[in-house]
């Protein structure tokens, strides 16, 4: 499959690559000072985590990534708290090492992976993707990850497998809203159709800005599906199941009229209570206009064919 890279980007969004590199150097050297404690077992200490990862054809290398500090401080994690500040603080209590991931269901080789083994078998790449939240904000994230398709192929999906379900960690000890059973059905689950899961844009991420993911960003392993609203990109994955029937997913189950199974970014389908036509890009100054939201978050060229005969207003 040949996939074109991102289409043209407004000049104002392009950063001088040199500045970007320098900035990353600075961040890396800062992390090198404090980094030893946060590195998981599969990272060798004292070295920058991932130096010079290949970018691949799927990365929008001409987009300016949102500064790391903003990415780390503006994220939802409802297991911990319903607001961004508290959830970021509380997420630090999650233990992510050791970590294992079970892959089961309609596969020839059900496997339980230690995270480090799983990552060692995959090719890591940097993928600079747009990230759009249903709440109406967006950022540009330089993920470090690998193709989900490649992982799934390694366990040999059966032809019966038509959906892929993901389950987040269940740790009521450290996750207050799981402990009190607040709002949603825990643990958090998400799912993709098998063709969405096998799409080369879909990755499992282990890092951000060349280093390991921060806990609030979904460490140690999260899904990233850049053409869908952020809540589809489930965090802290412990289980991946291949299924014949579509599974229930957390938000869709909690509020089916608000959050559909597909949740493809679509400016023409408003949320029942608010518009999805535009988005506030993080790191923009006062008086900067909002960005016009794009169908499939700008990835239409690559993914529109997956939904060719579907009424996107019905299957939102």
């Amino acid at each position: 499959m040949i996939i074109k890279t991102q289409k043209s980007i407004a000049a104002s969004e392009i950063t001088d690559p040199l500045i970007f590199k320098q900035r990353r150097q600075i961040i890396k050297s800062l992390l090198a000072i404090t980094g030893a404690g946060i590195a998981p077992a599969w990272a060798s200490e004292n070295k920058p985590m991932w130096n010079k990862l290949p970018q691949g054809d799927f990365s929008a290398h001409d987009l300016t990534p949102t500064p790391l500090e903003l990415i780390k401080n503006y994220t939802n994690y409802y297991e911990f708290a319903f607001n961004k500040e508290d959830s970021t603080d509380l997420a630090q209590h999650l233990t992510i090492d050791p970590w294992s991931v079970e892959i089961s269901g309609e596969v020839e080789k059900p496997t339980r992976f230690h995270l480090e083994d799983m990552v060692r078998q995959q090719t890591l790449e940097e993928r600079i993707y747009r990230f759009r939240c249903v709440e109406g904000w967006s950022m540009v994230v330089p993920w470090v990850g690998f193709s989900l398709a490649s992982l799934l192929k390694s366990v040999k999906p059966l032809s019966r497998a038509r959906f892929v379900k993901f389950t987040s960690v269940h740790e009521p000890e450290v996750m207050p809203n799981q402990r009190s059973n607040a709002m949603l059905t825990w643990p958090y689950t998400e799912a993709l159709r098998i063709d969405e899961a096998m799409h080369p844009l879909t990755i499992l991420a282990v890092g951000l800005y060349g280093d390991v993911l921060a806990k609030q960003n979904g460490a140690p392993l999260r899904l990233v599906v850049p053409w869908k609203y952020g809540f589809k990109s489930i965090k802290a994955i412990v289980k991946i199941e291949l299924l014949e029937k579509p599974p229930l997913t957390t938000w869709n189950q909690a509020a089916p009229h608000d959050y559909g199974f597909y949740a493809n970014v679509n400016p023409n389908v408003p949320h029942p209570r608010w518009s999805q036509n535009s988005e506030r890009q993080l790191n923009s100054r006062f008086f900067t206009p909002r960005r016009q939201t794009e169908l499939f978050n700008g990835y239409g060229e690559q993914v529109a064919s997956l939904y060719r005969d579907m009424d996107l207003e019905h299957f939102f």
């Binding site: 409802y78 506030r280 993080l282 909002r290």
Partner: protein, 205 residues
């Protein structure tokens, strides 16, 4: 008299504290990762708080039997209008940079904003009917018009509820306050009616 004047001045200045605080946070970059939204939300919160404070005055006056409070009610009402206008302006200018097409689509598709607009129109009408001449001109209708403040606060709270994904605690707090205040007014109204009923047969004797 002097004491009241000092209090008046203090209240006037106190009403500006949220604005000064906000300007301070803007200047020192204390508004977090999404400062545009934070600014807008702060102004919305203060609008609702001033609206609630405005409604507290009459019950306090009834309980304490202190007569000089109407000026404070008026001042708080004007501050409500002031913060509501800044909230609206931050939406139109700071967030949308006067991109009218985008603003139009956003308003049409966001039902929670309609409720904000209803609340704002009422607060606006109440504010412009403040001058003495207009008050005189409106006569009894002035009081009737000002009862709409309850509709405004109801719309304001719904406007708050309606945009949330899940956390209902904060708007619930305002809702409880307003139900209490409204309950108090109804109670006073009922007792007054009761009293006047008892008065009638007596006077006829």
């Amino acid at each position: 008299m002097m004491r009241i004047d000092k209090l008046w001045l203090t209240t006037l200045l106190a009403g500006l504290i949220p604005l000064v605080w906000l300007l301070f946070d803007i200047a020192f970059d204390q508004l977090g990762a999404n400062p545009i939204q934070a600014l807008h939300i702060r102004l919305g919160d203060w609008t609702l708080r001033f609206l609630c404070l405005t409604l507290v005055i009459t019950p306090v006056q009834t309980i304490t039997k202190w007569r000089g409070m109407t000026t404070y009610r008026q001042m708080l009402g004007i501050y409500t209008f002031f913060y509501a206008s800044l909230h609206l302006l931050s939406y139109l200018l700071v967030d949308h940079a006067f991109q009218w097409r985008m603003i139009g689509i956003d308003i049409i598709e966001s039902s929670y904003i309609w409720l904000g607009i209803v609340a704002y129109i009422i607060v606006f009408l109440l504010a412009i009917s403040t001058p003495k001449q207009i008050k005189k001109y409106l006569g009894k209708n002035w009081k009737k018009l000002h009862r709409f403040i309850y509709l405004a606060v109801g719309a304001g709270i719904l406007h708050y509820f309606w945009q949330l994904k899940g956390n209902l605690v904060e708007p619930l707090f305002y809702l409880i306050i307003i139900v209490l205040l409204l309950g108090f007014r109804v109670l006073v109204w009922l007792t007054n009616r009761q009293l006047s009923k008892m008065m009638i047969p007596k006077s006829r004797k």
